[in-house]
């Protein structure tokens, strides 16, 4: 049994402990301890009933910790009342854990950390490595998050939209370490799909699968960024694409469109094109229109301008960009210019034949890039135009 499989039992076991009366923070610590024992011991000596084993060990760890804490007499009583272990309503428990770990009282980074630990079963060290912060900092972030939600009743229904935002963040913004956060986000979203029947949950899973299918082709061996049009489509993961499309179609058929389904639809149209030239940009523009109606995000309208540029020509794209400037002054919240605005303008000007403006805007875009890979890519675009090289 591998580590991911062991970790998949985390929410179920944690749910059992909480239902038996353990408070969330203590139960979570106990489950972590049990997981560590499992990861160490199971490869050599796997138990017949994995969840039963974990539940028993975690409960024992919880009781040990409780006994050690003599001041907390109330919990001592639980020793006398230890319930017989038996089948638990594991699906409900899992769902409640997602809600709790994405509770609106948590900041996004706290919700992400708590979800990865309490639902994903990752260790604090793994999470700290993934986000490039010291382990002590991540430990504090997690224990603070646990304190924040300690008063929340476990059986209180939550808002699935907050859970989806957290999973989306995990998928989008992982850095490094020995854990593949994108794969972990997919695993957690898959698990959520089995716990709740909701078209947007399916939409998010489809979106993740469709993006993940292209991951190997998005960067060159030297780490530089490969734009969509230049990616080697023969290396896209067709199995993941097929699964994503199937999940998306089932979700769309229920006629309750949401942001993630619309984003997934756009990703599916890209994934579906045998060559970049065969991309159905007209349909993509239509989906961006749907998406703009759902979110009113300037990022969406920026991407829409690119799609318009492909569907109706660069002049039309520039006109769409001008509309965006007029309504939002090209800025997003925080007073910062919209990321990638100059990059999109540069691309459209180049396609329109205005190479000097394009080169200037690529350089400006590189200056404003929020990450290294994009900055290097945009600098290369500017350099390519400045030295008169063909595309």
């Amino acid at each position: 049994m591998n580590e991911a499989l062991i970790r998949s039992l985390t929410p179920g076991v944690l749910g059992v402990l909480v239902r038996r009366g353990a408070d969330f923070a203590a139960a979570e610590d106990a489950v972590q301890d049990a997981l560590i024992e499992a990861v160490r011991g199971w490869p050599a000596d796997p138990p017949r009933d994995a969840k039963g084993w974990l539940t028993t060990v975690a409960w024992r760890k919880f009781l040990d910790a409780t006994r050690a804490d003599a001041a907390r007499r109330r919990r001592e009583d639980l020793v006398e009342e230890e319930p017989a272990s038996g089948p638990a309503a594991s699906v409900d428990d899992t769902l409640q854990l997602y809600f709790l770990c994405a509770h609106p009282s948590l900041t996004p980074s706290s919700a992400v950390a708590l979800t990865l630990r309490a639902v994903g079963g990752l260790t604090t060290r793994q999470i700290a490595q993934a986000y490039l912060v010291p382990e002590a900092t991540m430990a504090q972030r997690i224990s603070r998050a646990k304190r924040t939600v300690s008063g929340v009743r476990f059986d209180q229904p939550g808002d699935v939209a907050t859970v989806l935002r957290v999973l989306y963040l995990v998928f989008n913004e992982g850095y490094s370490g020995d854990v593949d956060l994108a794969a972990e986000a997919i695993r957690l979203t898959r698990q959520l799909v089995t716990a709740i029947d909701h078209p947007e949950v399916a939409g998010l899973l489809a979106l993740m699968l469709l993006h993940h299918a292209r991951r190997a082709t998005r960067t060159a061996p030297d780490g530089s960024l490969v734009p969509l049009a230049e990616q080697d489509r023969s290396r896209w993961d067709t199995k993941a694409i097929a699964e994503g499309v199937e999940i998306l179609q089932a979700a769309l058929a229920r006629d309750r469109l949401g942001e993630f389904q619309a984003q997934a639809a756009i990703a599916a149209l890209h994934a579906d094109a045998p060559t970049a030239e065969e991309t159905d940009w007209v349909q993509i523009v239509e989906w961006y229109d749907e998406l703009a109606g759902l979110t009113d995000s300037p990022v969406v309208r920026l991407n829409r301008a690119v799609a318009v540029g492909e569907a109706d020509g660069p002049r039309a794209g520039l006109a769409a960009l001008a509309e965006l400037d007029a309504s939002s002054a090209g800025s997003s919240s925080g007073g910062y210019p919209l990321p990638r605005h100059a990059a999109v303008a540069a691309y459209l000007h180049e396609r329109d034949g205005d190479l000097a403006t394009a080169a200037r805007l690529y350089a400006e875009a590189a200056h404003k890039a929020a990450n290294l890979a994009e900055r290097d890519y945009l600098t290369r675009q500017a350099a390519r135009l400045n030295t008169g090289r063909p595309h």
């Binding site: 603070r144 998928f171 690119v306």
Partner: protein, 139 residues
């Protein structure tokens, strides 16, 4: 979730409000200042936002490559260098607003007469290594 560098300058930043050099404070005022900085770092650790904090010696040297097989050239320190970094703190926060809020707190560290220095700190976002996975049409 973004990392920011809070940069403190020996020279090069605009003049602070309470602009008295440290060697003209009382020893107690210096202790109070150091305590404030330590407490600030400890608070960040507790809130799960602390990544790193370091101080730099005021003097260093300049070094450059001087060609194949030759030792690097060194020079300096230059007394006239306009921008001199004193140290930094790296934080991992949810928003730019939060980074600004924390820099504001750090700048309130007490100086002469126990009054806030109002020192100018530079707040610089880190460049992430790679773009986010979705939300971008050109990849």
């Amino acid at each position: 979730m973004a990392k920011y560098l809070l940069l403190k300058h020996y020279r090069g930043a605009p003049a602070p409000v309470n602009n008295v050099p440290m060697d003209q404070w009382t020893p107690e005022e210096i202790s109070a200042h150091v305590q404030y900085m330590n407490d600030f770092a400890a608070r960040l650790e507790k809130s799960g936002e602390f990544v790193d904090g370091q101080a730099l010696a005021p003097e260093g040297s300049w070094v450059r490559y001087d060609g194949e097989g030759r030792p690097p050239v060194t020079d300096g320190p230059f007394a006239e260098t306009k921008d001199l970094i004193a140290g930094w703190m790296i934080i991992d926060v949810d928003s730019h607003e939060r980074a600004v809020e924390l820099a504001g707190e750090l700048s309130a560290a007490p100086g002469k007469d126990g009054k806030p220095i109002h020192e100018w700190l530079e707040v610089r976002p880190f460049l992430a290594a790679k773009p986010s996975t979705t939300e971008c049409t050109f990849k």
